[in-house]
Each structure stands twice: as C-alpha cells, then as structure tokens.
C-alpha cells in the first residue's frame, strides 16, 4: 500500500512539473512579457529596466527555476490588472466557486443517483428508456447553451429567477443546475450500470429467496454494494466540475475562479492566468491522487494492475 501511494505521489509530482512548464511558457508564447506588462507610453529603456526587474534578461531555465521556487512558497506574482498579489485575488474568489460547485454536486447526487437506481430496477421499462434518453441528450448539450436556454425560460419568459450575478439563493439555482447538468447525466449512467451489476449477483438472489421485501433487497443489499463504484466514480468526476465552472461562470457572470480566468485572459493579465491554471491543475491532480489511493484502499485488486 505504502509503495503504491509513493508511486502515485511521484507520478503526481512529475505531472504537476510538466504542467508548470506549460504554464510558465504561456507568457512567453505570446511574445515579450515585458512589452505586455509595460504601459503603452513606456520608453525602450524603461522596458529594458522592467525586464531586469522581472528577471526576463536571464536565461529561460533560470527564469523557470525562479517561477517554480516562488510558486512553491505561495508567491505567484502581482496581477497586472488589479495590482494585487495573485494568490490574494484567487483566495477572494475561491469561496464563490466552492459554493457553486457544492450546490451543483448536491443537485447531481440528489437527482442522478436515484434516477440511475430506479432505471436499473426498472431496466427495459419506460422509466429506464426515459432515463437513458435523458442521459444521452444531457451529455450532448453544450453547457453554455443549457445555461442560456434556462435563462430564456426562467428569467426572460417566466421572470421567476434573476438572469445573472450573485446574491440571493435564487441567483444560485440556474448556475448550479447548469454546472450539474452534464455531470448528472454521467452519474445517472454510472449508477445504473453499477446497480445492474449488483442486482445480477448471487447474494441478491439469496436475499430474494429468503423472502425479504423487495425494497429491502434493493436498498439494503443492492444499493449499499453499488455505492462503492458510484461514489468513487463520482469523486473521480468532481474534477470535471472544475472544467465546467469556466463556462458556467462566464454565462451567469458568477464571480468565481472561472470568470476570473476568462477576464484575465481578455485583460492579458498573464500572471493571474498562470496562477489560476497552476492552482486548478494542482487541485485536479491531487483530487485524482486521493481518489486513486482511496480506491486502492477499498478495492485492493487495483494495485496489482
């Protein structure tokens, strides 16, 4: 077990290192970073001075080392647009994304898992077909379009909910639904197949032979065992929520990390973009790591593959 954890830890570190190279090169791919950061009326000698201050006159690998060693200490540089430390801005926005993501997750579990289980129990009947159609259609709609259609229906046509921004709980409903939408479709499919696998097993037949009532068979004997794959797969997919926040927050003008990334991109605020991408990647990789280790703990066969 310890061996496995160590191996995965080293893998994660290598992966993060690779991404940090890409992130570091981001600002260099777009041309001279000093020109980008300097005000338009700056003189050539000012730009040269800025270059020295920022360390841009040093060789690339030295710059990379500086970037990495500062980032590890939590210093991601200053945002060009707001003139504040990037980390501080990130920490300001993060709770909003956490709130949105949490609400989306809650929605997903409350809707997706029961739908999937009921689909499996009623396999082949109309509810199952309806669930399958729902899952397929759900996975085929672009997130931004789902958001806009909801806005059209509930904000423009019916006027029940505010179109965008953040404030009351009504503001949270549409973004959470939009963000959770794709994920709900995925989790419905997962819980259906996990439940089908379990219902096929011998101990379910045994439970039925014993004459237990059907709801006990399904909830106590079936669902409890189906939970393991459902929860781990769900946890694995938490990270896809991270991707979704960029689009959802842009559509609904939700002041979280996703909107911060998009706004910083258009403001050419590269230190801010780098910070967001690097932290998002780190979160992404470490969530994956924790899920993998937990999975190996629950199901020891994983290690030997």
């Amino acid at each position: 077990m310890i061996n496995y954890i160590l191996r995965r830890l080293i893998q994660a570190a290598i992966c993060l290192f690779g991404i940090s190279i890409i992130v570091f090169l981001l600002s260099h791919l777009s041309g001279d970073p000093a020109l980008l950061m300097a005000p338009p009326e700056a003189k050539p000698e000012d730009i040269q001075a800025l270059r020295v201050v920022l360390g841009l006159d040093k060789p690339l690998y030295v710059q990379f080392w500086m970037f990495i060693s500062k980032a590890v200490q939590g210093d991601f540089g200053q945002s060009i647009r707001w003139g504040k430390p990037c980390l501080e801005l990130w920490l300001m926005r993060f709770p909003n994304t956490l709130l949105l993501g949490g609400a989306a997750m809650a929605f997903t579990f409350v809707v997706g898992i029961p739908t999937g289980i009921l689909s499996a129990v009623k396999a082949g009947r109309w509810f199952d077909n309806f669930g399958k159609a729902f899952a397929l259609a759900g996975q085929s709609m672009p997130v931004f379009w789902v958001g806009l259609m909801l806005m059209l229906l509930f904000a423009v046509a019916l006027g029940w909910l505010p179109t965008s921004g953040m404030g009351t709980w009504q503001h949270l409903l549409m973004p959470a639904f939009t963000l959770g939408w794709y994920f709900t479709a995925a989790i419905t499919r997962m819980s259906r197949s996990a439940m089908l696998d379990v219902l096929d097993s011998e101990y379910i037949k045994m439970a039925r032979i014993k004459g237990l009532p059907e709801y006990v068979v399904i909830l106590k004997h079936g669902f409890r065992n189906a939970m393991i794959p459902i929860v781990t797969l769900a946890a694995l997919n938490i990270v896809t929520l991270l991707n979704g926040t960029v689009i959802t927050e842009t559509v609904f003008n939700w002041p979280g990390i996703g909107l911060l990334i998009v706004n910083s991109i258009f403001a050419r605020d590269y230190p801010m973009v780098q910070t967001c991408v690097l932290i998002a990647s780190a979160l992404f990789i470490f969530t994956n790591l924790i899920v993998d280790v937990l999975y190996a703990y629950i199901d020891p066969r994983i290690k030997y593959q």
């Binding site: 085929s140 806005m151 423009v156 991270l242 842009t250 990334i261 258009f266 967001c276």
Partner: protein
C-alpha cells in the same frame, strides 16, 4: 434423371448462396441507427457544400430585416426561415456555413489526435521497456490535466484562429487514444501471427504498422466517433468565449454568443445554433455507441 437431379442441386445451392448473401447484407444493415446517420449525412453535406445550398450570403447584413423572428412567428418571413440576427444576417445560412467549421475542426482534430495516439500506443506497447515507461508517464500527464482550462489558456495565448484550435486540441487530445489502444496492442502483440511475422524476419516497423495496426483500426474508429462529439462541443465552447474561430466566419459557438446580448428581444438567435450542436453531437455519440457494440463488444463497459 441424372440431369434433372444435377439441375435441382445447382438450383438448391444457388438459392442457399443467395440466401446467404441476403442474410449477410441484412446483417450489415440491421440496427443501423438511421436517424443519427441521416443527421450526420446532412451535417456532412452542409459542411462540404455549404456555400452552394445557403439561401442567403451568411455574411451579408440586411438592415431592413434586423432581428426578424423565424417564419412561424407572426412577424416572421418565409424569406428568412429561422430568422435573422442583430445585424440582419440569415441564421439558417449561417448555421449551414457553420457546419463547415465544426466539420473541419472536428475531423482534423480526430484524425491528428487519433494518429498521434495510435503511434504512441504502437511504440509504447510493442517496444516496451523504457520507451513504454516514458511514453505512458507522458500519457498520464496529459490525461490528468484540467483539459478545458489549459485549452482556453493556450488558445488565448496563441490567438484565435481555426488552425490554432485544431493544433491545440490535437496536441491535448491524443492521450485517451494512446491509453486504450496500448492495451489493445499488448493483447495482439502475443498473437501467433505476430510470432510468425517475427520468424519471417519482418522488421519492427513492419510488424507495428502492417501487422498490428490493421487490428486496432476498429477500436480507433470507435474512439474517434465518440471523440468527435466532444471535439465539436469543445470547439463551440472556445468560439462561445471568443477564443475559437474569429468573428466574420460563422461558427456555432460564436453564434450562440451573438444571441446572448439580445436574448430579451430575440430568443431564436442563440437557440438554433445550440440545437444544431446538440443534434450533431447526439448523433455522433449514438453512432459511436452503435459502432462500439458492432465492432468491439469488449468495450461495452468503457
């Protein structure tokens, strides 16, 4: 007597072989998802010959027909079936032309990513050893990235253009193929016909590309069909954010974004292109699922 017997025999065998042929043909046809295939054919025709079948010039603005609703609404006009946008461009024509963008990006990405993934899988699984270790670590790295966020950042840095979108998505999208195809190659690698090829002194490159590669094409096609829908959604997401295909050219994602500001007065501008995306993606997912069952029953659980 003898003669008639032989005739009846040939008739018999003739009928048998014909029935055989009919059954095989029906087998191929059976269960083809016709609706998705039809939608994809329409998509293909629009993408390839879009400029010949658009009722209007997709870029021409008609200031007398700004924000015209679709034909079934009261103020609508048969001239503009699906209505016009904020500067009087015909939405139907723009959707037809936009199919070309999605088609080009979708196919180019799927082909490049698939080729790269297959190459990595072949090298990694067949050569093994340190090549395998290094290539698989790189594959793992690409698989554990926050895909869309890196995609957006790279697209922003390299600047919005169709070629950049294709390049970035292909470079970020090959890892899934490599992972799945590698296990395929590992399985085939130990088959008898490969051993025979080695005995016949076929070189490594020859074994990889002529003996193993044809056996992974089925899986490759299934993966590519399933990825196509995903690529179209990602491309439209980039275009929606203004980081994909630059403005004058109509892309479905940017058309949805165009309608966002005038949603209060013109619901149709955002709605139609989104439906187009959904239909094409749904169709390619359904076709991919069907192909998977047809060609590769092993991956039913994938």
């Amino acid at each position: 007597m003898l003669n008639s017997l032989s005739i009846s025999e040939t008739e018999e065998t003739g009928r048998v072989s014909e029935r055989f042929r009919r059954i095989r043909f029906r087998d191929i046809i059976r269960g083809v998802p016709w609706i998705p295939v039809t939608i994809l054919v329409i998509f293909l025709v629009c993408g390839l010959f879009g400029s010949f079948i658009t009722p209007h010039d997709p870029l021409k603005t008609d200031l007398r027909a700004v924000k015209k609703p679709p034909f079934f609404q009261q103020a609508g006009d048969m001239k503009y079936l699906l209505g016009t946008d904020a500067i009087g461009r015909d939405i139907l024509s723009r959707i037809i032309t936009g199919a070309g963008v999605s088609l080009q990006v979708g196919f180019a990405v799927v082909v490049f990513a698939g080729a790269l993934g297959a190459l990595v899988a072949l090298l990694s699984a067949y050569l093994g050893g340190w090549v395998d270790t290094i290539l698989m670590r790189i594959t793992d790295m690409f698989l554990s990235m926050p895909y869309l966020i890196i995609l957006i950042a790279l697209a922003a840095v390299l600047g919005p253009s169709k070629n950049n979108v294709i390049l970035i998505m292909a470079v970020l999208g090959w890892a899934g193929y490599a992972r799945v195809l590698r296990s395929e190659v590992l399985r085939i690698k130990n088959a008898d016909f490969i051993k025979l090829a080695i005995v016949a002194r076929a070189g490594k490159a020859r074994i990889m590309f002529q003996h193993i590669f044809p056996n992974i094409i089925n899986t490759l096609v299934v993966l590519a069909t399933l990825q196509l829908g995903n690529v179209i959604i990602m491309e439209s997401s980039l275009s929606f954010l203004g980081l994909g295909v630059p403005p004058p050219e109509p892309a479905w994602g940017s058309m949805v974004a165009d309608g966002r500001i005038i949603m209060n007065t013109a619901w149709w501008v955002s709605t139609w292109p989104g439906i187009a995306i959904m239909l094409v993606v749904l169709s390619s997912n359904l076709l991919g699922d069907w192909l998977r069952l047809r060609l590769d029953p092993k991956f039913r659980q994938l």
